[in-house]
């Protein structure tokens, strides 16, 4: 296939060809960035919580009276544990994808006046690690005598546990066991680390900066209950738990937004991200559609315009395949021009988005991926007009108009 005659013909239509090229360039730029945004959202949504989400039911309460909290927690724990399908019940201050409850700054040295580290302090009753299904990474779990009553937000307890990954960032190259964490006005000694527990409100920069304290259910720790259920029983348990709270504790308010399975809480938590990703998919689909329509339209015009020339070429011995390939090559050239320009634009657009919306840099492999998509789209779009061109009979050459 000779390129030169195609280029010569394109030069006669350079404006139209340039416009379609520009359209493809813009489409390429938007496509690459939109694909990247979608994949970033999907990454965000796939963050691991470290717990068995489908089997954990969370009951969140508001309006708990401090003076009645210990009694309430005791009644609810025994009541919830009695529901068919519940394997264990634990009281906590928060759960992954639930309401944030214990965000605080802390320091690693007693004499350091600055609170340089910030993490989410989970406060849980004795059954919390086993109910959540946490795995021990180093050290040991809390012993029963380490659980303390809550006073001023945090429990009076000598010990603390951390997420093992997070501990590594706090004490690089050292064992966290035996180290001390100073928070508010209390000091806690690290007795162990657990493998992966997500903070309630993860964001791309902060996911597993969590710590765990041992609290005795009661005043300050009576609002959130986690129920481990038998496989497949979560929905039943959720309904039964709602009914039970209404019966056992009519004076408290069930927080409906945060009473769900953890997988349900995850769905709600990422609802906006999912909607945005869906919208981006819609934009990409519409963009590809419009671009394809543009290619189909222009190619159709050109085929009609060149019927006579096509007839002449056919009469002079060109095969249908030659004509077909002519239009395919022409399209390939235009799309390639668009893609070359589009890659530069994609990069530029990414720079703008990076500076304005704190997005990371576009990984380079998105460029060839977007290019491939547009090449395929171009070839598919041009196929119908090109086939029509290939079907032009040589006899057209002999007609005057």
């Amino acid at each position: 296939m000779q390129i030169r005659p195609i280029l010569a013909a394109l030069r006669r239509h350079r404006v139209a060809a340039f416009l379609i090229g520009m359209e493809i360039a813009l489409a390429c730029a938007i496509l690459c960035n939109a694909l990247f945004l979608i994949s970033a959202r999907i990454d965000t949504m796939q963050v691991s919580s470290g717990v068995d989400e489908d089997r954990l039911v969370v009951v969140s309460l508001d309006g708990v009276d401090d003076n009645a909290a210990a009694d309430l927690a005791a009644r609810l724990r025994s009541g919830l544990a009695g529901i068919a399908g519940v394997q264990s019940v634990a009281v906590t201050n928060a759960v992954p994808f639930g309401q944030q409850a214990g965000e605080a700054g802390f320091r690693l040295r007693a004499d350091d006046p600055h609170y340089d580290n910030q993490g989410h302090f989970y406060v849980g009753g004795p059954a919390l690690p086993s109910t959540l299904g946490l795995q021990l990474a180093e050290g040991r779990w809390f012993t029963p005598d380490e659980f303390g009553p809550i006073s001023e937000f945090l429990p009076r307890s000598p010990s603390i546990m951390l997420d093992s990954e997070y501990a590594r960032t706090l004490w690089p190259g050292e064992s966290p066991l035996g180290k001390t964490v100073y928070a508010i006005d209390k000091a806690f000694r690290v007795v162990g680390t657990y493998r992966s527990l997500l903070r309630p409100n993860p964001n791309p920069g902060h996911t597993h900066n969590t710590l765990l304290l041992a609290g005795i259910p009661g005043k300050g720790l009576a609002s959130v209950y986690v129920l481990r259920t038998a496989p497949g029983k979560a929905d039943q348990v959720l309904q039964a738990a709602r009914a039970l709270v209404a019966r056992v504790a009519p004076a408290v308010v069930v927080n409906q937004d945060y009473t769900d399975t953890i997988s349900g809480l995850r769905r709600s938590y990422f609802a906006a991200d999912r909607a945005m990703a869906g919208m981006l998919v819609g934009v990409i689909a519409a963009l590809l559609l419009v671009t394809a329509l543009g290619i189909v339209g222009l190619a159709s015009f050109w085929v009609q315009q060149r019927r006579k020339q096509i007839g002449v070429r056919r009469a002079l011995g060109a095969t249908r395949g030659d004509i077909l390939r002519y239009f395919q090559t022409e399209n390939f050239l235009i799309v390639s021009f668009g893609i070359a320009l589009g890659m530069v634009l994609a990069f530029g657009l990414n720079l703008v988005l990076m500076s304005r919306y704190e997005l990371p840099r576009l990984p380079l492999f998105y460029l060839p991926a977007g290019a491939l998509l547009l090449w395929v789209l171009g070839q598919l779009a041009v196929l119908a007009p090109a086939l029509r061109a290939a079907a032009v009979p040589p006899v057209v050459a002999t007609r005057s108009v």
């Binding site: 139209a16 416009l19 813009l26 938007i30 609170y115 934009v283 963009l287 419009v290 671009t291 919306y357």
Partner: protein
Amino acid sequence: MFGYYFDLAMRSLKRNKVLTGLMVLAIAVGIGASMTTLTVMYLLSGDPLPGKSARIYYPQLDPETGADVRKNPADLLDYISAHDLWQSGKADRQTMVVFGSIKLQPGLAGQSPFMADTLATTSDFFPMFDVPFRYGGAWNAADEARGVRQVVISDVLNQRLFGGANSVGRTIVLNGTGVQVVGVLDHWRPRPLFYMLVGARYSGGDTGGYYVRPQDVFLPMPTALDINAGNFGWFSCWGKPDRMDLRNAPCESVGLWVQLDTAAKAAAYRRYLDAYDAQQRALGRLSHPANTRMMSLHEWMAYQNAVPSDVKLQTWLAFGFLLVCLFNTVGLLLAKFLRRSGEIGVRRALGATRGAIFAQCLAEAGVIGLLGGVGGLLLTLLGLWLVRQQPVAYADVVALNVPMLLLTILLAVAASLLAGAFPALRASRVPPALQLKTL
């Protein structure tokens, strides 16, 4: 003449229905996407207090005493500073706001208690922010100081509790304390909820939650401190607070808004703020270096980056998309007009001027734009419906309004005329002789 061009345009468009359809569709999709996002942008970035926002200011200082010093003061004040500044009465109006929630026990048997969002505030809040009342009005300042058991409730809560009837004088039970309703708000939906726009700048652009509707229960500040102790939202603490004692907590939890009607008053208040800050420093209550601010409401909204970044991103995308659609239309129109070179040559030979050819082509582009605009309007309505289905706090305020409707049609026609101008110019430059020869 225009009628004739219109007729010609319609004939030309009818000749190739599929391609006309493609062009109209491309314009419609581009317009639909852009106008959907632009409408959302317009609704979310508007002025929450039209005609008044320039006179509303947000004084700030750094009340912390810890070792860590912030570059910018925290987004709220501690109670003592806020109360001192408020009590001074130096501004034309001033109000404090503290957010919280409270357990509300409906009066009727069988209804279960629920949590209501509360705003503890002062009587100036309502006139200062032009809050509309359906029934009754605000409590008065003298009663407020005595901690009167009176509240103002939202229209939504009034609907829920009293079926929308005039509930002034009725009693509701908050945290076990009976309080009397003195006012019921009319529909009031400032966007964003500007007086609680705190912490938005840390949210990484995820600010959709700042577009919720106002709180359901408005309590006088001293009353709220009495009956809702322990249930306030803290912003940030630099020391260990007593949860039940907001007044003396080493925490930022109070917003102070002031209304200053002239630039001179604003400057005077700014000086007063500095003087107060310096005095407190001299007294030893404050220890950090002086760091006072006083932003206007507009500056505050810009500082907090109120418009969600997803919405801005969508607007960028939509306009990029519109640009693609326009390039598409220009290319197609160009091909379409130039294919009629023979016809144009005949018209030129018969005496039509270049201007006439240009006008005729442009009329065709305009008709496409008009059709695209109508299609775009339908797609905009569809797009806005889709936004309303999204799980966002502002879903209920998203609707097409008259200026946006007119802008949609205008944008479509302008875009297609712009897209048609170049092809029309090219068509009008077709040399008649050459075309006649090839016929």
